[in-house]
């Protein structure tokens, strides 16, 4: 064992599958002087890698997670540590059969070969299964198992062979020293290492390690119970570790996976058993390893019964014994996604945590690319550790959501499903008013936001079938026809929308304009009082953010971005601030509440409570200024995300309720309707073909493809400009189009309503794939009550991106015809934007 060097380019802390993969990818990308430390011994230092069941199912409803998994499988195959066995998710209930159809759709969307199979076919593949209790299966031949310890060892050795890596097992990190907000040195019981970059790949211990530097890695260790049963006579002649497909018994949250002569039975069915990272035993204190805790039988009894029921021939054999049982620790996060990227608290301190075997090498490649070049091939936005607000890093939040998420591991999770735990953390000043109006609250970034208002029920009678009612329970879940009624009322009259979840940053200082020119694609040197919608790119020309900027003064700008993106965007801005302090960023999210007032009567309403000139000439579209509204002075900004005349009104938080009352009262003659985010985020937006970050906008598609490229490129330099110019010079590989569903009647006669992420196929059902290998899928879907159609957005290859092209989407195993309505950003409703500019 080589001693610890005094200096390193990077110190990777934790030598499980993630740390080894990180070391390898950093070395492959050209970094030298990498140090990998672990307090344990190699090859199994005692973390979760050592006890993982090591199987890989490919399909996730999240594109990001699926891409990580597919890349990982590719890497494991190249290392020769992957054994393909196939895998089947089986359904015991009708609801699950439906869910498997949905998983089938996700497989098609992400390009995974899979099929739905009958119980008899499951039985043919897995002869020991009790096919009498299953209703079907979702079979993926590409599923398999890995030797993750071997894979990690090979990657570590590759990095060593490149002369890039020093490995230091038996080395416990005792401190991470930070100077001026930046990593300077790692202290260990074997000596100190000077370094500017640290990657924490410490699995369940990551929060403890991050804390040494004053940063947070919000995960919770949780118990996953697993037993190993054998010897199974049927497996006696298996060469290698697995011959039969892995079974996931979805409805009982369990799995059965052959491992040599044994069967491993695991469960996510038991009560959530969360641990505190500080309570995990040390290597010497633990019987097996620190992450293999004593089995608690009473939690597993029910799972035993389920397993026995599903595989009585094997598991009911009295000669087959339970040879090994553990409570294995794994990592859970508040939203189920990994924790990747540089921590917002400390420069140079990176996290690659809450990662499972199935996605580890793919994630390591992504993070290594991100570290070495600033951009990665796979967009890690959903997993970006910078996404969390402070309240989401509290133990109460981490534990509450992790516990809630645990039992959803194999769950049927509705795309709109809401969390139960730790609600009502962030409430706007309008909250009590909204509650009184029967608001049904959905959560965004901790904010309670009305999704619709039960008090608008009378509007249903007014609009009848124009609200596009949904009779199929799944489609109507976490939804109400009132959303569409609010939409129509807003288009007919006027609506008031709570937008307080916006993140608001002030950017000011003598170099503020130059700084924003560098950050933003659009020309920022516009007169004071202008509102600018712009994209932000990374150096590769991937879309990092989209937001609006108000110029409040010569050297004073106000940035407004979505609540869900706020913290990521803030870090992106903060990372690029000049070091000399010539530009300051101040987060004013908690100081300003926001109300949207939109609809043909918005001007009349506003004029009735202000002396300011709010006429089209006096307050043109795309401008902002402070005006007096009754007793409140507020910042009004004439823009719209719903395609109507109106304003976003920013009001000091403590005066919000007073402003709401003033608008509400003045709105009565206009029959003002409170309008929820169901309209703002979906129906109003989709009719106007406005793109949303995380749906249409992401690093994987560029501005030309999304139709957001402006006719001209500003002369000033900005991040991603070079790549952007190149993108503009090339024909796009895909073009964002708006489609409408021609006939949404299912075979059973129900009208069905897709929700997004469905595969877009040819009429014959073939996948559409662009020249970069990206398959077409629905990026957003929703009702368009004003046009009476279901609206979809999707990136299509140029051959299909033509108005009138007839295509299909797959939803719950059926194909529905859809036609390209618009290519590019032209709205399907009010294409000339006369309403917005009236």
């Amino acid at each position: 064992m080589a001693g610890l060097p005094a200096q390193a380019r990077v110190v990777v802390i934790g030598a499980g599958i993630v740390g080894n993969s990180m070391a390898y990818h950093l070395a492959r990308l050209g970094w030298k002087d990498i140090v990998l430390v672990d307090k344990g011994a190699l090859p199994n230092p005692g973390g979760s890698t050592g006890h993982a069941s090591n199987f890989i199912f490919l399909t996730d409803h999240s594109k990001e997670m699926t891409l990580f998994t597919l890349d990982s499988v590719k890497q494991y195959k190249e290392l020769g540590v992957f054994t393909q066995s196939g895998g089947i998710e089986v359904a015991r209930t009708a609801e699950r059969v439906d869910e498997l159809k949905r998983r089938m759709a996700s497989s098609k969307a992400w390009g995974i070969d899979a099929e739905l199979v009958s119980p008899a076919e499951v039985k043919r593949l897995v002869p020991y299964i009790n096919d009498a209790i299953i209703l079907g299966g979702f079979s993926t031949p590409g599923i398999g198992t890995v030797d993750s310890l071997r894979g990690g060892t090979l990657m570590r050795e590759k990095a060593q062979a490149m002369g890039a890596l020093t490995v230091a097992p038996g080395t416990e990190v005792t401190g991470i020293e930070v100077e001026n907000g930046r990593v300077r040195r790692v202290r260990t019981d074997q000596g100190d290492v000077e370094t500017e970059v640290v990657v924490i790949t410490g699995g369940i211990w990551s929060p403890r390690i991050a804390r040494m530097a004053g940063a947070a890695i919000p995960l919770s260790p949780a118990v996953h119970q697993m037993i190993s049963v054998g010897p199974v006579p049927l497996f006696a002649d298996t060469v290698g570790e697995i011959k039969y497909p892995i079974i996931r018994d979805m409805d009982t949250n369990g799995y059965e996976r052959q491992h040599g002569s044994d069967m491993e039975v695991g469960s996510y069915d038991h009560r959530p058993i969360l641990w505190d990272p500080d309570d995990i035993p040390s290597l010497t204190q633990s019987k097996l390893s620190p992450t293999e805790l004593p089995f608690t039988k009473e939690d597993f009894d029910e799972s035993l019964e389920h397993a026995l029921e599903l595989m009585p021939d094997i598991l009911g054999d009295p000669a087959v014994g339970i040879r090994h049982s553990i409570n294995g620790l794994l990592s859970l996060t508040p939203d189920g996604f990994p924790l990747l990227g540089e921590t917002p608290e400390v420069k140079g301190l990176w996290s690659a945590a809450a990662i499972w075997i199935k996605e580890a090498p793919g994630i390591a490649r992504c993070v290594a690319e991100w570290m070495t070049s600033g951009v990665s091939e796979i967009d890690p936005s959903s997993s970006d550790i910078a996404r969390f607000y402070d309240h989401q890093k509290t133990q109460a939040h981490i534990k509450g959501r992790s516990a809630e998420g645990f039992n959803k591991t194999y769950g049927i999770v509705h795309p709109r499903e809401q969390w139960d735990s730790n609600r009502r953390v962030r409430v706007s000043p309008f909250y009590e008013r909204e509650k009184a109006l029967g608001a049904v609250f959905f959560e965004t970034a901790g904010w309670e936001r009305p999704n619709w208002y039960e008090s608008n029920k009378p509007l249903l009678a007014e609009y009848g079938d124009r609200v596009m009612p949904r009779r199929y329970e799944w489609d109507a879940r976490w939804w109400s026809p009132i959303i569409n009624a609010e939409h129509l009322a807003m288009r007919d009259r006027v609506g008031i929308v709570d937008l307080s979840a916006f993140a608001v940053f002030d950017i000011a200082g003598i170099c503020a304009l130059d700084y924003l020119q560098k950050m933003c694609v659009v020309q920022m040197n516009l007169p004071v009082g202008r509102v600018i919608y712009t994209s932000l790119l990374n150096t590769a020309g991937g879309i990092k953010a989209d937001l609006t900027v108000m110029r409040l003064g010569t050297n004073h700008f106000r940035v407004v971005t979505g609540g869900a993106d706020g913290m990521r965007d803030r870090k992106w801005f903060a990372d690029h601030l000049p070091e000399d302090g010539a530009v300051q960023l101040t987060d004013l999210t908690s100081s300003w509440a926001t109300i949207g007032v939109w609809g043909p009567r918005a001007r009349d309403l506003l004029q009735s409570i202000t002396d300011a000139d709010v006429s089209n000439e006096g307050f043109p579209f795309g401008t902002c200024r402070f005006i007096d509204l009754g007793p409140v002075r507020a910042l009004a900004s004439r823009i719209s995300y719903v395609g109507e005349l109106g304003w976003e009104i920013y009001v000091p938080f403590e005066q919000g309720a007073r402003l709401w009352d003033a608008i509400w009262q003045a709105g009565q003659p206009h029959r003002i309707a409170p309008v929820g985010i169901g309209v703002y985020g979906t129906t109003g937006r989709l009719e106007k073909c406005y793109r949303a970050y995380g749906n249409e906008l992401e690093q994987e598609f560029n501005l030309v493809e999304t139709g957001l490229a402006r006719p001209q490129v500003k002369p000033q330099d900005f991040i991603g400009k070079e790549a952007y110019l190149k993108q503009r010079a090339e024909p796009p590989a895909a073009i964002l189009c708006t489609l409408t569903v021609d006939d949404n009647t299912s075979r059973s006669g129900f009208k069905r309503y897709p929700m997004g992420r469905e595969p877009v196929l040819s009429q014959k059902g073939e996948r559409l794939v662009d020249r970069h290998g990206r398959g077409s899928y629905v990026t957003s879907a929703g009702s368009g009550p004003s046009i009476g159609k279901t609206i979809l957005m999707s990136f299509l290859p140029p051959e299909q991106a033509k108005v009138g092209t007839r295509l299909a989407i797959e939803y719950f195993g059926e194909r529905y015809p859809a036609t390209v309505a618009v290519v590019g950003p032209t709205p399907v409703f009010d294409p000339q934007n006369t309403r917005v500019r009236s």
């Binding site: 049963v229 309570d279 035993p281 290597l283 010497t284 204190q285 633990s286 019987k287 097996l288 805790l293 004593p294 089995f295 039988k297 009894d301 035993l304 019964e305 397993a307 026995l308 598991l315 009911g316 054999d317 009295p318 000669a319 087959v320 014994g321 339970i322 040879r323």
Partner: protein
């Protein structure tokens, strides 16, 4: 034949043992619980005897409510009945333990249940007093052989073997008798799934045992000085072949 096995719930220690701050207990936060390997073998032996000769098998423990886990584990392996002599969780010394067990066996006899064989582990995994079996035998006036590593039942007799440095010591004891078993007498089976599920549903016969003073008093526990281990790496990737062969020969494994 009817067999009774006595077991004791103990912390499943491995690696470094830590004590609670007051030095009264082993710190079990990270530990599961088990019985000693000797007792595992006694349970296995009891199951095999009744499988072979018929009759009934019973497992008994003196311990806290939580010791039900260990009783069920024994039942998962094929023991039919389980008795818990429930305590308040304090550590009983061998005198008191044996007395409580004797009382239980006498109560069994009064209820018409007699045992041909009463088995214990040679010693418990934690306090290792080596006494309970002998004291029970003495109180019941039964023959007793300790540390047995082989057992055969023939016609009202047990032929048992003890391993000594120079060979086997053989004893022929008339039944009923008390035997204490040493690890190695058999290779205990693992519980099957149906076994474990059946055991879960079985009734545990409970009685309460009142604390009795014995001859021993626990002052406090103290950890012995840890003996350090050194690891010598003989070589990597096959270049240690000769050394490995030599080592195995030295250990008389080749």
């Amino acid at each position: 034949m009817n067999v009774l096995v006595g077991i004791k719930r103990v912390p499943a220690t491995a690696g470094q043992i830590t004590l609670t701050p007051d030095g009264q207990e082993i710190d079990t936060r990270y530990l599961g619980f088990t019985v000693s390997p000797h007792e595992e073998c006694a349970v296995e032996e009891a199951v095999r005897l009744t499988e072979k000769h018929g009759g009934s098998s019973t497992v008994l423990t003196l311990g806290p409510e939580a010791a039900v886990d260990q009783l069920r584990e024994a039942m998962a392996l094929g023991i039919e009945r389980a008795m818990l002599l429930e305590t308040d969780g304090r550590e009983w010394d061998p005198v008191a333990t044996a007395a409580a067990i004797v009382k239980a066996i006498e109560a069994e006899r009064a209820a018409g249940r007699t045992y041909d064989l009463v088995m214990f582990g040679n010693e418990s995994a934690d306090s290792a007093g080596y006494q309970v079996g002998v004291r029970v035998a003495d109180a019941l006036d039964l023959p007793c052989v300790t540390g047995i590593k082989a057992l055969e039942i023939t016609d009202g007799h047990a032929v048992v073997r003890r391993q000594t440095e120079s060979g086997w010591e053989v004893a022929d004891v008339p039944l009923p008798a008390v035997l204490t078993v040493k690890e190695g007498i058999n290779l205990p089976r693992y519980p099957s799934l149906p076994g474990r599920l059946k055991a879960k549903k079985k009734e545990i016969e409970r009685s309460t045992s009142q604390w009795q003073d014995g001859g021993l008093e626990k002052i406090r526990l103290k950890l012995p000085v840890q003996v350090g281990h050194t690891v010598e790496i003989l070589g990597k990737n096959g270049d240690a072949e000769a050394q490995v062969v030599e080592l195995l020969q030295r250990l008389r494994l080749l």
